[in-house]
Amino acid sequence: MDEEQLVQGLRSQDPRAVQEMVASYGDRLFRSACLLCGDQAEAQDLVQETLLQAVRSGPRFRGSSSVYTWLHGILLNLTRHYHRDRKRMVYDEELVRQETGPPEENPSRLDVEMTTGALTDVLGGLSGPHREVLILRFYEDMKIHEIAAHLGISSGTVKSRLHYAIAEMQRRMPGELNLFSACGTEEKAKR
């Protein structure tokens, strides 16, 4: 089913289109939701509600953006409500451990554990608006003007938030876990 057929199917609330939407975008939305809210159980609820809202509002979807962008917009709104309810986010440690696996199966376990743990901690410490632009830019690979359109803010505001978010991440990362040095942690682990 191509994008156009998917849009038509969602408009007519065709169960095959809904199934296709979940199969094509469910995992990606779930990962993005995990990064945005930092809690897998909450992320699952948020994605489920996103998909339900998409099904309900499918007949009104005009197809002016891609299906994924439309779904992600719904997810962002729901995540904001979630953050409003929970003033400060607590990052799920499961998300941090998920990547690492058992020690004997993962030779670079130390490196991964250190970097992902630090990464999720620092992400969790950012404010919602700063975390949003960071994830849209570096996880969703969106261009500045696309982020601006997606969030309904100016490109200048996107750049300013992005600049602050990156500076804040660099400030909060401990020196030995410098996120942005390509092989710093590996070198440290080898020593």
């Binding site: 408009r11 007519s12 609330q13 169960p15 809904v18 199934q19 979940v22 199969a23 469910g26 995992d27 939305l29 779930f30 990962r31 995990c34 990064l35 897998q40 699952q44 994605v47 489920q48 998909l51 339900l52 099904v55 309900r56 007949p59 998300l95 941090v96 998920q98 990547e99 991964v112 970097t115 992902t116 990464l119 999720t120 960071l134 994830i135 830019r137 570096f138 996880y139 690979d141 261009k143 500045i144 003007h145 490109s155 750049k159 992005l162 990156i166 991440m169 996120l179 942005f180 040095s181 390509a182």
Partner: protein, 178 residues
């Protein structure tokens, strides 16, 4: 283009969304400026490193299959619900028109009665001339408006009322006055 201007447009340069003229100016500036080349390189490194790490953190995550089941179940319920709702609305609607008409007649009679009892014609340029034995009655009546609209595969009906007011001359006997 100077360093400040280049760094202000660094993200757009990376995105390739500058105008052709601005892109050429930025490239000329880059060929002459080691500091901006370094800033560009650092930005690329940050983007690559962060993207990689965000993906490594989440790559193994999968949306639990029960979400798909629940979404499809909700869709099935939603498709069933309008049909039931439609049935109930239509059975109610059979009474809508007679009820609306009955309400209109009732309001009309009440309006005539009240107006005729309270209104006394006064002499003046704006008052219509009344023949002997006539009274001026303000009649208000309600018109039911029944509309249908289609949303997807569902037909939704709505009953609304519009109140109209007119001034009429009526024989006093008809209004119940002597």
């Amino acid at each position: 283009m100077n360093c400040r201007r280049f760094q202000h447009r660094l993200y757009e340069f990376l995105d390739g969304t500058l105008s052709p003229g601005a892109q050429a100016a930025a490239e000329r500036h880059l060929s002459d400026c080691a500091t901006c080349r370094q800033a560009l390189q650092a930005e690329r490194q940050i983007a690559q490193s962060l993207s990689e790490k965000l993906r490594r953190t989440t790559d193994s995550l999968r949306l639990p299959p029960e979400v798909q089941r629940q979404v499809l179940a909700a869709l099935a319920n939603q498709r069933r619900a309008p049909a039931e709702e439609q049935g109930s609305v239509f059975s109610w609607s059979r009474f809508a028109l007679p009820l609306g008409l009955a309400a209109s007649v009732l309001l009309l009679v009440a309006g005539v009665f009240l107006c005729a009892r309270t209104f006394r014609p006064k002499a003046g340029p704006t008052q219509p001339r009344l023949a002997p034995g006539e009274v001026l009655a303000q009649l208000s009546y309600v018109v039911p408006i029944y509309t249908f609209r289609q949303e997807g595969g569902v037909v939704i009906d709505a009953l609304t009322y519009q109140t109209n007011v007119v001034n009429e001359r009526l024989p006093a006997q008809f209004a119940g006055l002597k």
